[in-house]
Symmetry: C2
């Protein structure tokens, strides 16, 4: 596929190239929206934590890692059940190499991060099987829109990422309830994507909420409220507020398809300022279809950071090449931003080297802790 | 006194002029630090609320007014016991006329504002007579410093204001404990400045904390912890983080002298990026001495917005000319920023007109509410 720097033009290459040209050389503000859903605690549904219960700590731990290079609310860093580390390590490396400023916005969490963060007054997300997932979607979306506007009046552009374990299942819920053909198309942090389980959870959720596929075609706020997660109103508001002023890289995998459906339904005029930024692992994933989802929603470019961890010194990072993790915490979008800011001087390999240095010091720290 | 636009060069005119030249034409980010102190509930000490108890609502109400043009946590707007309205009306007008973005940071409050705000994890401030005013000053200062750094990497400069009822008494506590000659020099929102009462409160506070005048000359964090308020670590951190990157207008009256003492003690190298921005009413006030305080601490310019409300249609605004309120919520500094951004096109009179329009709609709203 065509590339500019180490950025793959994965969908609509002419618009993707034009988008990169608009942002090249500019330093964006990186915004990370955090949220939880108790859906992540359904066994085998998410690998964004060593155990289902600990997924509550993954978003705040990711955010702490960005600011301090280590976590505070947990020891070590968030890992999958197999011990593969969080993609926030990639984000941290991209932010450091480019000197990119970052602000974290909380849509609703059970554990607050030990950093300065934007409080949007939201509650943690409930299990979507209840059909009542997010109680305060409208208020959080309103506040996040204000924040997105104010934070970007002085910026060249922004990158909006997410950390929300279980978020591909809630993305499936929102997409299906809004009428998109999304069955079997959302991604997973696991190499074996549990599509059957996700479908069964979403079908139960729709029934609980008295919904059918497509019944919320024009009501994205109700889709979040019934079958979404607490990250969604935060990220959607930030994107809606920011895209009035500046270009926005929506940084993530198939969760960004759900956010695109929400944002595009609330304000279709913003599409010209949007691109999705993700990773090569995500677009090469045979078990999901980000491009197919985006194409149903809006004709925006999809960009993918070309990183290859197969030669990493660390087995935990090599595992990314086997389709574990793939994306999260705005990893792909922040990597693309660092590449574009540096006119390609920051490569996928440079990000890996920076990441290995950071990871090494964390592993050393862990060993000291064990003594 | 010398003026540039409608900005009075109230201290060190050459440096003041140079500072204005640096920022002219640029659009800053306005940051508002909120905090409370139970010291404000001592009868007759503060007029930043109709009654002592209601001062808990003044900072969140000021912040809501900036974002929405009306308050949410109270009906009407914060007023003095005589009904004179909050200076946040001036700030709101300056932000609107210049299209200036704003972000609110909470150091510690009893009532959360209904806006997106930066949570710094702090608790409300206790009465300084206990000698244990702020429990978490170091953590809040650290987080605010991070936020101040990240928020300003993409900005030309920032304005940092405060809303903290009772804050001149805590300012007196911090200044005296750090060894400055501040007795009888801090300002008041009342025309009759209760210096005797403030002195008695601060003397009790110092005794409770086992301190004497000057014993915390080199320990500003302990000064905040013992005799300060919860706004201080938030505002000080924002200034410390921001002034590394960009010029900072410290927007306020004598509370900014205490913040200057704190900031200058923690990082004296930043002074070249600092100016205090206040109002004409404050520097013409015969019952306080901002210039005298600043001159003891650091040789930075003091700027004052020249506004005159004597011809206002509203008695509540005319009262500002009698020395009521004088300053607060970053009124003077945001007015200066609007004047400098517009190269003087936004005048003191233009701010009054904008303010009267906003105030009129609020008064109408109040009448509707009474029906």
């Amino acid at each position: 596929m065509e590339k500019v720097y180490d950025v793959i033009l994965a969908r609509n290459p002419p618009r993707g190239r034009a988008f990169i040209n608009r942002i090249a050389g500019a330093l964006p503000l990186f915004l990370l929206a955090l949220g939880t859903t108790d859906t992540a605690k359904i066994p085998s549904i998410s690998a964004a934590g060593a155990t289902p219960e600990i997924t509550d700590f993954t978003p705040p731990a990711d955010a702490e890692l960005l600011y301090y290079g280590r976590c505070r609310c947990i020891s070590g860093v968030p890992i999958t059940p197999e011990g593969i580390p969080t993609p926030a390590l990639i984000t941290r490396s991209a932010l450091r190499l480019a000197g990119m400023p970052s602000i974290v916005a909380v849509g609703g969490l059970r554990v607050a991060p030990s950093i300065p963060f934007i409080n949007l007054g939201g509650l943690p997300g409930m299990d979507i099987k209840t059909g009542c997932a997010v109680k305060d979607a409208a208020e959080v979306l309103e506040k996040a829109t204000i924040a997105g506007d104010h934070l970007t009046r002085n910026s060249d552009y922004v990158v909006v990422g997410e950390s929300a374990p279980g978020g591909t299942t809630t993305a499936l819920g929102v997409l299906v309830s809004m009428g998109y053909d999304a069955w079997g198309k959302v991604s997973s942090s696991m190499p074996r994507n549990p599509h059957k389980l996700k479908r069964s959870v979403v079908e139960t959720a729709l029934t609980s909420a008295c919904l059918r596929e497509g019944s919320l075609r024009n009501d994205p706020l109700k889709a979040i409220s019934c079958v979404g997660d607490s990250m969604m109103p935060a990220a959607a508001g930030l994107i809606l507020g920011a895209a009035r002023n500046v270009p926005v890289i929506m940084a993530g995998g198939t969760q960004m398809a759900a956010l695109l459906a929400i944002v595009n339904s609330l304000n279709p005029a913003l599409a010209g300022n949007l691109a999705i930024g993700t990773t090569r692992w995500l677009i090469e994933d045979g078990t999901s279809d980000l491009i197919g989802l985006v194409s149903q929603i809006a004709d925006i470019p999809v960009l993918a950071a070309d990183m290859n961890f197969s030669k990493s010194r660390f087995a935990g990072l090599q595992a990314y090449e086997r389709g574990v993790v793939k994306e999260g915490a705005g990893a792909g979008g922040s990597a693309i931003a660092a590449m574009a800011w540096s006119h390609g001087r920051i490569t996928g390999d440079a990000l890996l080297h920076e990441m290995e240095a950071g990871y090494e010091s964390l592993v050393d720290l862990g060993k000291q802790g064990e003594r």
